[in-house]
Symmetry: C2
Subunit: 420 residues, 2 copies
Amino acid sequence: MLRIGVVGVGTVGQSVCKILEDNKDIITARAGVEIVPVAGVVNDLSKKRDVKIKLTNNVDELLNDDNIDIIVELMGGVEKAYEVVKKALEKGKPVVTANKALLAYHRYELQEIAGDTAFEYEAAVAGGIPIINALRDGLSANHIKSIRGIINGTCNYMLDKMINENIPYDVILKEAQELGYAEADPTFDVGGFDAAHKLLILASIAYGIDAKPEDILIEGIENITSEDIAFAKEFNYSLKLLGIAKKKNDKVELRVHSVLIPNKEMIAKVDGVMNGVSVVGDKVGETLFYGAGAGGDATASAVIANIIDIARKGKGSPMLGFNMPLEDGLTLASKDDIETKYYLRMQVEDKSGVLAKIASILGKRDISIKTMLQKSYDETKANLLLSTHTCKEKDIKEALNELKSSGVVLSMPAMIRIEE
Amino acid sequence: MLRIGVVGVGTVGQSVCKILEDNKDIITARAGVEIVPVAGVVNDLSKKRDVKIKLTNNVDELLNDDNIDIIVELMGGVEKAYEVVKKALEKGKPVVTANKALLAYHRYELQEIAGDTAFEYEAAVAGGIPIINALRDGLSANHIKSIRGIINGTCNYMLDKMINENIPYDVILKEAQELGYAEADPTFDVGGFDAAHKLLILASIAYGIDAKPEDILIEGIENITSEDIAFAKEFNYSLKLLGIAKKKNDKVELRVHSVLIPNKEMIAKVDGVMNGVSVVGDKVGETLFYGAGAGGDATASAVIANIIDIARKGKGSPMLGFNMPLEDGLTLASKDDIETKYYLRMQVEDKSGVLAKIASILGKRDISIKTMLQKSYDETKANLLLSTHTCKEKDIKEALNELKSSGVVLSMPAMIRIEE
């Protein structure tokens, strides 16, 4: 029998306990041993929870209990969770976590501390989709050319509704909050931070690269307007928040932002609250992994898969996918050096000479225009929507600043990157 | 250093050798040990191959060589491959295979023979997609409700061209043969047998069920006509060859056949020569795994992932996913008891009373009609296309036979199952 201690008995923790009971037959047959949740840690003992395990508000009771074989960390947050996981690993107790923030900041220290003790985290990225498993084990023969992940269901749900049902941002945010898809303070999701945490974990497995959220480009979906949506439709694009990792020679681009992506691409078809991760390997080509990225049961499915793995083989693959460092390691590309295509939206004065001025500001930085759409706003103003061929982030940023102060553009132009 | 012996040095075997060299840096870092192909077995030593390893036509040289750590079986076929794999495992040499036919017939004996020796086969199903990995490890907490797999790229390519470019079956088959997607004798692919082999492997992992190709319903795509294609388009269906496994109480339906599937479903979007497998777990919901199902490099990607796995952890998960049998094991459902929706196509005399007769033959078996489309063929004949609500395979088969001898239907009606 394998006895589980659950630190944090919220939605996911309760699902873990319930599934271990519901699916005891198949889990025991697959694991070769009975897996039983025996104790849990909560902050507030007076709050009612639908579990049969013994609850305490003192985590040390679990950490010091020799009868607990595996610690499941579902408390969330960074520093307190780090202390709990560290202690457990130092005691040689295997740990399973769903905590992406913890890993975004401490994955390399924890790998070190874990040593030969199993430390697994399938549920930390894309919930029920076994993407850690796929990237770390299934695609291990490949140099990874790129990862593009729809790894925040809240944003995908909102963008889907905005583009397919023409619902404005504020309205759909409120609806997402009512449905429980978005928090009261939605910044963590709609600002791209949640996706960034997950992207950093994937990037470690793909590239062996250590980076923190502060090091990478993170933008959210807060500034998407109905004009952007109309442009996307006009040119057969979907609008998605993507976590992107791309290898270019010995550099890796890591970035989270909204993108316009051709409708025909497989990842553009990942709709609603679902997650999807496209991984391109140099040998396998494009693969895509699709499923529920959140929710108690889907997340618990991944947590329990890790527990079964530990029951079967103890410590399996190296935590972050590498048994030794890459000889010629990869480094993080500068934000300025990111290269992609761009969509620009700006309000301009509706008079002659304006287009020439804009074209000149772009042209002198070798930014060439691919498509353009001008829509009258009122008698004196127009909305100008255009897309560019591939150019550098630095050049676009400079061009946007010059456009702003050019006298012909009426406010700071908006920009969305295009993934093709 | 881990030394590999490759039995069968064709397209995949050569890719395995090449990738181990091309990606040596990342493979070594991930595996923690250098992986080197050292010897290969071929039938015809005079044929030129693009590999640097020592070649022999005597497999025993490899099996008896203590310097060879892992045998990679890529020779294909069933009985000869079985003997080779058996000998290797009996000598305690781990085996990696891409041979689905071997596993379709001998997976349970080989699991027994392997015991604690690693025996892996990721490449046997859906080529480069790590679906064995996902189903056996990533989704192990779930009772699997269903698997629906596009696991034959040849058929998917042909159906895609038939439906999206209106190319007739014979023409597209010839094109697929010229492109190397279909063999000179295409029966194995277009008859559904290749997909059936793969389905049986997945069904063992999902359900612990032992079945052989002879035990299950296997139909191909040979009888699809332009009328069927037109009907599919009319009602927003895609046309796919699916391998289907479905749990219904304590029975499992296993079947391979063409299906009409609503365009909006994620698996309907898997186009061209690509593969995709949708797995529905009772806790995780629907997941989908997409990628290249064939080709030297994609298949070799999976073979090498298995070798890296063995380097990392020796024998990992139980070969077929179960460390002990399920207490209340599942059994194979009878072909007659399959329940689904059906599309029927028949040529009828264009005169009064015909529809009433057909409706009566269906109605007395509780087969109710959902949609109908009648198209005049000439002055005396019409094509009748209809879809049913859910009913039993046995009833449909009986109805089709009665329709044939009813006097109003001019030849044996055609039938395609509908997956919704």
